[in-house]
């Protein structure tokens, strides 16, 4: 047990200390994690921690991230992106690979090695770029969308690359590999072994890997692959609802998390077995589920894991930098890294122009994707294992990849501090305004929330409904209402439902404590959100007022008044008289409520609050006196506008 506890603690403490500092300095979480990794590297080496395996494991965070990205993307939007995806993405990979190949050949490398290097370095870091774009809220911008298209294409491009590379094996290197045995693949320089990226075709020294397609003829392989993808789509489309419905019966919070994880891991596993990139598979699954009512539930379950694993991954990248080798070849490595960044950025800028990405977006695109990415680690070890690139070259390239990743946060900072202020694009901002409609979150879709939702939607307002009963949700969704499954009091679910951009939240759940809790949470953390709160009774009103809502409606009050009025009418009182009595009663009650609320002390039981007791007794006595006719005011108000006949003449 201690074997895992100590490294775990070291990683956690490094992250917990480094990232808030980095955020405070405006450097972003990615840089924080990377630096934390560098700092703890000596400690890890002393303890003999296998950073490579940990990185392997942590790469799953990238898989999860792409699942979450898919969840945000509706199938329609994905289809609309196909031009950018294939055009921008395809050209980026091709042109960059060729450009790097050209440079490598100019430095005397044979063309097969040069091409391999080109392919390795053409890919960018999905993890860093997407994480940073999300943090900065730039995913929806033109630059963000363009970057995303390219990254997605790169993910797809890995597959043909993995097929192509073994064909470029060089006989000389194969002999070398035979001499050195399994040594070559053991990149202690932070190179992952790419199990998470599906390279189990040949050459891997890690024993027999599972595969559904090994040994099958080409056409059968393609068939199995397509079948697997189809299965994922079907699973998402038809099995999610019954699955969650089944799990709900146990009524245990952690089972939902387990189910979500099971889905993501299962899909990733299936993809690996057919040789596809698991990140691609989970992305597709996410897209399929983007319209599901469980979307927010899935998001909030997976998000913390993704966050932690990605953080861990970045730390392992930082920890994996071989500083000895680095300082031995500092000049070379730095030159290559900077050269690579400049070259990639140039290609990206040219493409941005060609595809009409302008202004600040062009810079975001160009600077953001200019690094080499974690796929580079994967491909490098793969190429060495397949005798495509010599170990020595690979070692240096590993440093280049890692270093370029380390420098990326710097580029984003440059973008933030230098580019954005200079090129603040007014028209781009106008677009944002149209995009950001005021949203209304309705917590609870029962007797209260359901009706409110209808009222608001009839007026054309956009609402997001959260409810905790899947059977209820099915019925609601059948009527075309956009509803999501989950416990509205969970901060992560609120976040997934968009509380940051919300205008208003209507708290219509029926649990007294939860209503207060939710009111308090939203009032504290999102003061810009207008809170309408459902109160169970009078005392609850006082609590909710103290919690921060200024629009509190007692759930049975209005109905009760109507019942009272109805009763009066049934007893023979003229309807209009009954109406006036009811209105007067409401006015009195409201005035009493205000008086009592001012002496109510949260946390103090009523019978121990002398001011409250005294005020209560006084109000009750006044009411009784008025009802008995001892005080003229009450009846006088009823009579307003009606003149008593007098025997004296009027003045």
């Amino acid at each position: 047990m201690t074997g895992f506890l100590l490294p775990a603690f070291i990683f956690l403490i490094a992250g917990v200390i480094a990232v808030p500092i980095a955020s405070r300095l405006g450097l972003g979480s990615v840089l924080g994690y990377l630096l934390a990794g560098i700092v703890i590297s000596p400690v890890l080496t002393t303890l003999g921690v296998d950073v490579v395996s940990i990185q392997h494991f942590a790469e799953f965070g990238v898989v999860m991230m792409l699942f979450l990205v898919g969840l945000e993307l509706e199938p329609k939007m994905l289809w609309n992106m196909r031009a950018k995806l294939l055009g921008l993405g395809g050209l980026q990979v091709m042109l960059t690979a060729l450009a790097v190949m050209g440079v490598a050949m100019a430095f005397g490398q044979p063309w097969t090695i040069a091409l391999a290097i080109g392919m390795v370095l053409a890919l960018s870091s999905t993890a860093i770029v997407l994480q940073t774009l999300n943090e900065k809220g730039l995913m929806k911008s033109d630059g963000g969308q363009a970057s995303f298209s390219v990254l997605l294409f790169q993910d797809i491009a890995v597959i043909p690359m993995l097929a192509l590379l073994p064909l470029m094996a060089m006989p000389e290197l194969m002999d070398m590999a035979a001499d050195h045995g399994a040594h070559g693949t053991d990149a202690a320089h932070g190179g992952g072994h790419g199990d998470a990226h599906g390279d189990d075709h040949g050459g891997d020294d890690h024993g027999p890997s599972l595969s559904l397609t090994e040994g099958l003829p080409g056409w059968a392989q393609a068939l199995v692959t397509l079948g697997a993808v189809g299965f994922v789509v079907v699973l998402g489309g038809f099995l999610t609802r019954p699955l969650f419905g089944f799990v709900e019966r146990a009524n245990l919070r952690e089972l939902f998390t387990a189910t979500a994880l099971m889905m993501v891991i299962g899909i990733a596993l299936l993809m690996t077995l057919v040789g596809l990139s698991p990140a691609l598979g989970t992305f597709l699954a996410g897209v399929v589920l983007a319209n599901s009512e469980y979307r927010h539930e899935l998001e909030s379950d997976i998000d913390p894991f993704k966050g932690l694993l990605l953080g861990l991954f970045f730390m392992t990248v930082g920890a994996g930098v071989n500083f000895d080798l680095l300082f031995a070849n500092l000049g070379n490595v730095l030159a290559m890294t900077v050269g690579l960044i400049v070259l990639k950025a140039t290609v990206l800028f040219i493409l941005a122009k060609a595809f009409n990405v302008g202004g600040t977006d062009k810079w975001l695109f160009g600077l953001g994707l200019a690094q080499a990415g974690e796929f580079g680690f994967v491909l490098l070890s793969f190429t060495v294992a397949n005798s495509v690139i010599p170990q020595s070259v690979a070692d240096q390239l590993l440093l280049v990849v890692a270093l370029s990743m380390l420098l990326t946060p710097g580029l984003f900072i440059f973008y933030d501090r230098v580019i954005t202020p200079r090129l603040a694009n007014a028209s781009a901002q106008a677009e944002d305004d149209i995009d950001e409609k005021g949203r209304i979150i309705i917590a609870g879709h029962g007797r209260v929330g359901g009706l409110i939702n209808r009222m608001l939607r009839l007026e054309g307002h956009e609402t997001v409904v959260l409810d905790y009963s899947s059977s209820h949700l099915e019925m609601v969704r059948a009527f075309g209402v956009k509803a999501f499954y989950g416990d509205a009091t969970r901060p992560d679910l609120l976040h997934a439902a968009g509380i940051e951009e919300a205008q208003m939240i209507v708290i219509a759940i029926d649990d007294r404590e939860k209503i207060t809790e939710l009111t308090h949470y939203v009032a504290q953390n999102y003061p810009h959100v207008y809170i309408i709160a459902r109160a169970v009774d009078r005392n609850h009103v006082y609590k909710l007022y103290a919690a921060g809502s200024r629009d509190i409606i007692r759930e049975t009050f209005d109905s009760t008044i109507r019942m009272g009025r109805s009763a009066l009418e049934a007893l023979g009182v003229h309807p209009f008289e009954a109406e006036k009595k009811a209105q007067e009663f409401v006015a009195r009650d409201r005035s009493a409520l205000v008086q009592m609320a001012s002496v109510y002390k949260p946390g103090v039981p009523l019978h121990q609050n002398p001011e409250y007791l005294e005020a209560g007794k006084r109000l009750m006595a006044e009411q009784e006196a008025e009802m008995r006719g001892e005080k003229p005011d009450f009846h006088a108000r009823l009579k307003t506008g009606w003149v008593e006949p007098t025997t004296d003449s009027q003045e």
Partner: protein, 202 residues
């Protein structure tokens, strides 16, 4: 300086072209109180205590409203019924409104020509305002000449709206600053935007 209180009564504000412009101007003026009756009492639950206090505090009361069936919108009638009590507005001890001024700022759908013996409305507009005038008189208030914009349903009116709103603003300011020529205004049956310039110099 007089304290001016504007009561605005309009049940269909979303469709208003004229009154909405007048309201924008009125709300900008410093030192006047503006009350949107249909906003305060959307369920017609007039609080006569609050309103009586409000009336007592002010010197000039303006009723701004469209003419609905030769009268005020329903809520304004309810307002007068509820608030102008025996013992407050009239009768023994009912002198709380004494000496205050009442002015109606109205918009009429029909053209000026219609409001005459020979027109299809058969009577001048002033005739239809008689009930309110008498109400003021009984409550010992001074009923000022009404401020009118005719023909508001026509398409041509758009050109006149701004002038009317500007004049309304000038009128309110004049009433507030006591520069309104009440004597000369009293000689007229009604006055319009173009008359305000002259009357505002008193």
């Amino acid at each position: 300086m007089s304290k001016v209180l504007v009561y605005y009564a309009h049940p269909g504000q979303n469709n208003s072209r004229v009154n909405s412009q007048m309201v924008t101007r009125a709300q900008q003026i410093e030192g006047i109180t503006f009350v949107d009756l249909y906003a305060e009492y959307p369920r017609f639950q007039i609080d006569h205590v609050v309103e009586q206090e409000r009336l007592v505090e002010h010197d000039v009361i303006i009723f701004q409203h469209p003419i609905h069936w030769y009268s005020t919108p329903a809520l304004l009638k309810e307002f007068v019924d509820r608030v102008f009590d025996l013992g407050f507005a009239y009768g023994i001890g009912g002198d709380k409104l004494k000496g205050k001024r009442l002015l109606q700022a109205v918009s009429a759908g029909a053209p000026k020509e219609a409001y005459s013996k020979n027109g299809y409305q058969n009577f001048p507009l002033r005739t239809f305002l008689t009930p309110m005038q008498q109400t003021a008189t009984l409550c010992q208030m001074t009923y000022l000449t009404p401020f009118v914009l005719y023909d508001v349903l026509s398409s041509d009116i758009l050109a006149q709206i701004e002038a009317h709103a500007n004049a309304y603003e000038a009128l309110l300011i004049a009433l507030r600053d006591d520069t309104f020529d009440e004597a000369n205004a009293a000689k007229l049956e009604y006055f319009e935007a173009r008359d305000v310039a002259k009357l505002g110099k008193g």
